[in-house]
């Protein structure tokens, strides 16, 4: 016997399955919100000038989500702040590779490149 609801044609047996599937998707999204909480914690630390704490939080995000463009971008800003330019450049490039259309990351990287334009020394031209 078909378990069909009134006039809609929905099989009642499948309804819980659909519901469970939707819940699973939401739980997955919300588990990434725990990492998002770490991202936000890092941002709050950075706003208070606690850059070592911010770096710790964002590195923590990357341990479980190595493809987090946000964490790579934020780490790049932190490394810039600390004068670690090679590390900053590396993180910006990874962030852009992961999220090439993100205008904020592009803006950060553009400003970074402009500010730290390499110094030309005449002697270097011969090397």
């Amino acid at each position: 016997m078909d378990m069909v609801d009134n006039g809609i044609g929905v099989n009642k047996k499948r309804v819980p399955l659909i519901f469970l599937f939707s819940m699973a998707i939401s739980l997955l999204s919300c588990s990434s919100s725990l990492q998002n909480e770490q991202l936000r914690f890092g941002i709050r630390a950075a706003q208070k000038d606690l850059w070592n704490e911010a770096i710790f939080r964002w590195q923590k995000v990357l341990r479980s989500s190595p493809n987090s463009a946000a964490a790579h971008n934020n780490l790049a800003v932190a490394y810039e702040k600390k004068g670690l330019l090679e590390e900053a450049k590396k993180e910006y490039e990874i962030a852009l590779k992961l999220s090439p259309e993100n205008t904020r990351i592009k803006s950060n990287y553009q400003s970074f490149k402009e500010y730290y334009s390499p110094v030309k020394k005449e002697n270097d031209k011969e090397n």
Binding site: F19, S26, S33, A46, E114, K120, E122
Partner: protein
């Protein structure tokens, strides 16, 4: 039953989207300057006249550059800052070591700051149109002309060792800025642009810190 399922589904959707929204925070960051040059090994910086490739109408750009760099360097450089006049009979002498070795012959431990400058003004126009839909328009379509004054400063800077005449540092700057105000004067625009140039120059030369804006992102 259908209402309960729909409600539950909506709750699930809301949870899903609330967990995946993007957020950006703009933050002011004081960035450290990275001094890539050791200018403290020199006892003096001599600022020469600049090669002005295009004369400015309302002000003496050469003198403004000399005053600007003189003031700024004196805040960061421990040695003496001086100036020396120069006539630019030849334009392409930045790499002529013999010339620069004899420029300040009594000051072997000096660094010479020189360069070339171009400053230009242009007016850019754009047509404005009202793109609101016909149903939203209560007035006839507006068309107008927007006008901006754009100023561009091109400055090629050189630091040259007085003892050997060799170029110690060189960098090319090109800064532009547009202004809505039609009465914006060339000299005030120049002050805006030279501040940007000085910031970048000093960041390399003396490691001057700079306040910058960056975006921090949460997913």
């Amino acid at each position: 039953m259908i209402k309960k399922i729909s409600f539950a589904f909506l709750v699930v959707l809301a949870l899903h989207f609330s967990c995946t929204s993007f957020d950006y925070q703009k933050i002011n960051v004081e960035l450290p300057g990275i001094a890539t040059l050791d200018i403290d090994q020199f006892q003096e910086i001599v600022i020469s006249d600049f090669l002005v490739e295009k004369e400015t109408k309302d002000f003496d750009i050469n003198q403004e550059l000399i005053d600007s760099f003189s003031t700024e360097l004196s805040k960061h450089f421990l040695g003496k800052i001086s100036t020396k006049e120069m006539s630019w009979e030849e334009k392409d002498i930045f790499h002529k070591e013999d010339f620069w070795k004899s420029f300040v012959p009594d000051q072997e431990e000096a660094l010479i700051l020189t360069g070339s400058v171009q400053y230009s003004e242009e007016i850019r126009k754009a047509i404005l149109e009202d793109h609101s839909s016909i149903s939203e328009r209560h007035y006839p379509t507006k068309k107008g002309l927007a006008q901006r004054k754009f100023y561009t400063l091109i400055l090629n800077l050189y630091l040259i060792k007085a003892k050997t005449g060799e170029v110690f540092y060189t960098r090319d700057f090109k800064e532009s800025k547009g202004y809505k105000n039609p009465k914006q004067t060339a000299i005030f625009a120049f002050f805006d642009l030279i501040e940007t140039v000085k910031g970048k120059f000093l960041q390399n030369v003396v490691g001057k810190k700079k306040l910058a804006q960056r975006y921090l992102i949460s997913e």
